[in-house]
Symmetry: D2
Amino acid sequence: MAKVAIVYHSGKGHTKMLAEYVRRGAAAVAETEVVFLEVEEASEQLELLDTCDAIIFGCPTYMGNVSAKMKAFQESAVSRWFSRQWQDKIAGAFTNSACFAGDKESTLIGLMVNAMQQGMIFVSLGIAPAVNEPESFQTINGASPNAINRVDGSLGPMAASMMVEPEEMAKGDLETAYLYGERVANITAQFVRGRI
Amino acid sequence: MAKVAIVYHSGKGHTKMLAEYVRRGAAAVAETEVVFLEVEEASEQLELLDTCDAIIFGCPTYMGNVSAKMKAFQESAVSRWFSRQWQDKIAGAFTNSACFAGDKESTLIGLMVNAMQQGMIFVSLGIAPAVNEPESFQTINGASPNAINRVDGSLGPMAASMMVEPEEMAKGDLETAYLYGERVANITAQFVRGRI
Amino acid sequence: MAKVAIVYHSGKGHTKMLAEYVRRGAAAVAETEVVFLEVEEASEQLELLDTCDAIIFGCPTYMGNVSAKMKAFQESAVSRWFSRQWQDKIAGAFTNSACFAGDKESTLIGLMVNAMQQGMIFVSLGIAPAVNEPESFQTINGASPNAINRVDGSLGPMAASMMVEPEEMAKGDLETAYLYGERVANITAQFVRGRI
Amino acid sequence: MAKVAIVYHSGKGHTKMLAEYVRRGAAAVAETEVVFLEVEEASEQLELLDTCDAIIFGCPTYMGNVSAKMKAFQESAVSRWFSRQWQDKIAGAFTNSACFAGDKESTLIGLMVNAMQQGMIFVSLGIAPAVNEPESFQTINGASPNAINRVDGSLGPMAASMMVEPEEMAKGDLETAYLYGERVANITAQFVRGRI
């Protein structure tokens, strides 16, 4: 049995929607228990996170970096940096912002560097850009909203939610989040099985 | 009189096309002389670069970072790191890759960090995303190919050239490059005028 | 007359000490007015910052990135991202943490990326490592605490304050901060003089 | 049986010395086979790398980023990006430069981003700064050369070789490399055991 936590901050619901799809993907993996925590709750439940085998961190990209609320959560977990209690856990990351690139990579790198400080093991997205709709690339309009990894992340899922409501987010972005949740849970299960 | 250099590497012509638009933008600024060098030439002409007030660096994003050929140029200029001869020059950066985000930010940060090592002053893109076509944001399809800064860079122009030929690149991407060339040249002119 | 603001967050006084040396360096430049603001005050005084020609941002490196309090300040200034009111201002950055490298570069890059989003122009440290004590390099012990830029930053000053009190910080780290304040103020003055 | 490759570039022998300690650490793990390749050889032996469970990448930090020779190797492996053959391999990274911080983090992030593009799983250093000599922190002189992780990396080992010969490198830096080799090999073994 593997335990995967999703810790997210969401300003207006878009990142929560992504988090929800990451959750569904992780929950689809056999023998996986999923813990789903908003960042402020998560700061109060570090002991619960201590029991998890993986933590996937997600937040919006605000002013080109991790949101202040997610950063405050990371700082609340400095006790785990000292105690090395999160050492060797699996980590992952995802983010959302209005537009395409928009320094979303800074946010994913910020989430990853924090995981490195905690001694974790970071799982890439592992999906080539627009895999299910390669014909999207034949046009300067870019990938279809239905294309998986249309925004082209490599560290984790990136969504572009362009002034749409959370429930109108691009199907491809949400499906990318689902696949990443599934991927991280599968890799976590493998690590757990490999423990002596 | 201000002197602005553009130093670029291009694998298949797309980054060269961007460089050409940066050049045109810079050349449109009064009393600006533009130096246009491919990276391998540039390594042989460091003395010419010594005489410039600004250097704008551009290369494709290959495997998530500055291209090896641009990196080799940067290393060829280590003598200027020792001599501090490029200190206080103005710097800028641009990049291209097939898809939208695709770790292009890593490349721009890589070009910027090298400029910092050389003691330079780095000019942001300075353009909000998709400024000329704000209605693009009302759709999950993302910005129109005609929208300026549709890819949403902040350090410098980012282009997404999606398996199209250089001459078919998105009009918005090319115009973004033009505006950045103009911006860097204007800021360079101001800085030159301010010298005592 | 040029106006340079220093906006800092300090947890235990070390970054405030650095900020104080940046302030002194800037104040040493003729015809320069210095504005000195702690981040929480700064969020309340965005109009004052609007009137400045330069803003230098400083914060501790916490969990490998910009501190949450500095990040909250950056988010409080999102109105200036929309209005483009900080466009073309000069920017700079500095940071402190206990140890040598410790992901301080992530923090400086985070402060720089935010400045890029605001359309600013970023000034490098512009000082080679350990310039005043080159003999420090002949030993694996590393640079003397008196050496300027002993920690070896390139974007801006980096200090390592190793469980010492603020008033016991390494002389070289503080002097690096002073020189950077002076450098940013001089470059700002040049830009201001160059305005038509 | 797990197979761990070390792929390194070394300009003057210091990064090779680090690579050698990473190799020894990995080789100390039971049932681990180690492949040791200089980058130019590695470009010719991608099929051998295909058979490895982990690849640890190391290079000097030149001008604030991954060395051009390591970058050329990464580009030579673009075929594996297309084929996804390196997907789910374990990855790690290490670097060396003369001074302490010196943008070494940019290099480790650059090596990590490339691993992410390849769909890999990245292992942090997992060692607190100067663990074996905490008294080093009581002084502004910084950690002793014998202290493990004295330079304070989080993504992987960072060494500062300050104009000394490879054989004179700080004992703490070399031991950090050893421990990281051992750590990556242990995690790889766990992951291999967990395969169904």
